[in-house]
Assembly symmetry: C2
Homo-oligomer: 417 residues x 2
């Protein structure tokens, strides 16, 4: 069967399943999630065995240590997937909520009601937990999931998807609401990206190569973020003790996540504080790359190149630039930012408000770490990623962001004049 037919068949089955899932009671979707969690716990040894096959193959193929780490499951990681499903189950039902309701002069009563989106395609790389997180969020929000994981984690992901299907079936819901695309078909990703009218939205999870390809080739709408080039702006009126703590946390807490800061902009009026902040960063193990002016003020700072301003290091490296004023900070962020998360450090409320108004990123922060850019920290529950597009979902994409809405209109024999 060619890839197009394969995806088309899967999508048709998924759509039929979704029409049942999308109108099912919350209790049934919750049961599917908690039963899947139980099966994942009970199948720990099978999951570890399947994972061992993937890991051995990956090592034989010479995958990097970081890659093997992302691929490898442990009893703790398995428990954490099961916990994640239970946490998703405990969230409020995103479906059926009346988002707004009003009456109009014609006598009609109009409500905007949350509905499922439909069929969601998830294309990801080596992390097997994406299988469970993504399928869990889709089940919660009444959407069918078509999963296409990386070939490196195929044995693990296939088993995890099967356990989710078992949970669905035991809850009385259609198994086809979670489908796993075999990685043996290399054209399947392309077919998913072209499946207009069959897949409602594609969510890529992975590195820049994967996300870039999906954004370039997809005809289906995409929720994605390509990069998190997050900025910190040390502005006039900053409390330096607070700011220093926030800067170190934003860069160094975890350097490999998309909410980690990559560039520190220092307002010219604040340069006398640079040496102290740089020392705190260096003590935490951070390498600094600055413009000429910054380098003159900090020992051990490398000279930054133009490319540094648009680099997502995902590492213990921070670029540092001294800028003339607020406008220059906004300009820098507009030029080099990726629309993900930016933070201003200042006690000046007027400046803070201007920053909130003028920076057009998904998340704008005052006096807190950019590493809070996370659905859990936002109180949205689990997330499938941070969207940097401006349509539909922006910022953390959790179950509520995987919904659409419809208008429900009640009349009483009402005709339009």
């Amino acid at each position: 069967m060619d890839a197009k037919t394969l995806i088309s068949d899967l999508a048709k089955a998924a759509k039929t399943a979704q029409s049942v899932l999308g109108k099912s009671d919350h209790a049934m979707r919750q049961a599917a999630l908690t039963m899947s969690a139980q099966h994942i716990r009970q199948s720990q040894s099978e999951i570890l065995a399947a994972n061992a096959i993937d890991v051995a193959a990956g090592k034989a193929r010479g995958l990097t240590d970081a890659f093997i780490d992302r691929l490898t499951l442990t009893p703790d990681r398995i428990e954490s997937m099961a916990n994640g499903l239970e946490a998703i189950s405990a969230l409020p039902d995103p479906l059926g909520a009346e988002l707004a309701r009003w009456q109009v002069p014609s006598g009609l009563d109009i409500a905007r009601v949350a509905t499922a989106l439909g069929v969601i395609g998830i294309i990801y790389e080596s992390r097997p937990n994406v299988t469970v997180d993504a399928a869990g969020l889709c089940i919660k929000s009444g959407n069918a999931a078509i999963l296409r994981g990386g070939s490196d984690s195929f044995h693990t992901s296939r088993l995890l998807a099967k356990l989710m299907q078992t949970g669905l079936a035991e809850a009385g819901l259609p198994e086809d609401a979670v489908a796993m695309v075999s990685t043996s078909d290399r054209d399947a990703v392309g077919a998913m990206l072209q499946a207009v009218g069959q897949i409602d939205v594609i969510i890529p999870r992975g590195g820049k190569g994967l996300v870039g390809r999906v954004q370039d080739e997809a005809r289906v709408p995409v929720f994605a973020h390509l990069e998190g080039i997050c900025h910190l702006y040390l502005a006039p009126g900053a409390d330096i003790a607070k700011a220093t703590k926030v800067i170190v946390n934003a860069k160094m807490r975890r350097t490999g996540i998309c909410g980690a800061a990559e560039t520190l902009l220092i307002d010219k009026s604040m340069t006398n504080h640079l040496a102290g902040i740089a020392e705190a960063l260096q003590q935490a193990g951070c390498h600094l790359r600055g413009d000429a002016e910054a380098c003159a003020l900090v020992s051990g700072m490398e000279q930054a190149e133009e490319a540094d301003w648009s680099t997502e290091y995902l590492d213990s490296i921070l670029s540092v630039r001294i800028i003339d004023d607020f406008e220059a900070a906004i300009d820098h962020i507009r030029t080099y930012g990726s629309g993900h998360t930016e933070a201003i450090l200042t006690e000046d409320v007027a400046l803070m408000d201007r920053f909130f108004a003028e920076v057009d990123s998904a998340i704008v922060i005052a006096n807190a770490s950019t590493q809070f850019a996370d659905g859990g920290e936002f109180g949205l529950g689990a997330e499938i990623g941070i969207a940097t597009g401006k349509l539909h979902a922006r910022g953390p994409v959790g179950a509520a962001q995987l919904t659409s809405f419809k208008y429900v209109v009640r009349g009483d024999g009402t005709t339009r004049p």
Copy 2:
């Protein structure tokens, strides 16, 4: 200059203008709208002269009477455009509204705040008023508009766009926020559809040919509806007097709008009422095309063909089908509907609620005419169309639907553990 460069240059200028417009005070955007309205009123004779050129050229080219009617402006239609802008001006500001605000345990204060979308491309056909409506809604919502009207209305639309630009300039806002693409460049539409990263969303306004082309070719996200194949379902428990009024109104009030009903589904248990309803429709001038069972019950009803169930007549024709039960009605709508608007006629609240839950269209109605599918009737103010997609905007697209949002996060030196 090639089309790609032309659109790229226009889009860059539009983006720069939008960054000013998007953060401007509501009073300034209101001033731009009311001043544009004044200019349109004051320029009535110039507008009529420009329109006369387009109309004469259209007649010479042998355009249909219906086409010439859509193209032709009159003093009344000009006044109505000016009134429309004033009505848009009077709507509440869609920007800056706090859509939600909450605190999380880490101490952060998180708000979701409405923002402009960015640069909106509008591709339309002969109606010159789309120039004014679309530009007006974009200005209101802080978005730049790149307008590409049909060549048949070019002289009229170009003048109208210029009057909008004058209004912007007088309000102290950048003129480039409204741009008109010359129709002499035939590749411009293609270039707009491919302008990923430069145009944030495309809205096509026009017939099936235009909208279909845009949906097929666009790489930029699209808010569109292709067809309004709207259904009426005469269900068990209907109040026949009310239902008959609603059915006649839904079909015959105006047959050429997308919210006009195209198919009447009669529940088998309600067939004894068909003759009376058919008579009311026929008296109103409606031609009926029914399945064999319906034809046997109604004199003067033509036999429907399979193609009738998926035809948007936009005319005084209604297809009529007798279906077995509620499930068959849902199935018919799922198979032949276009996801626009469907209505159930019943006093049975449980059945009504099932219809609301199970029909996945932008608008679902009980006991009221499908012709209420309109932003004005919904109390949303002017609209640029009815979106049948499920992402971002669904149903009537007014100023509030042309916005995105961002998260504004306030901390106090808050770091993530």
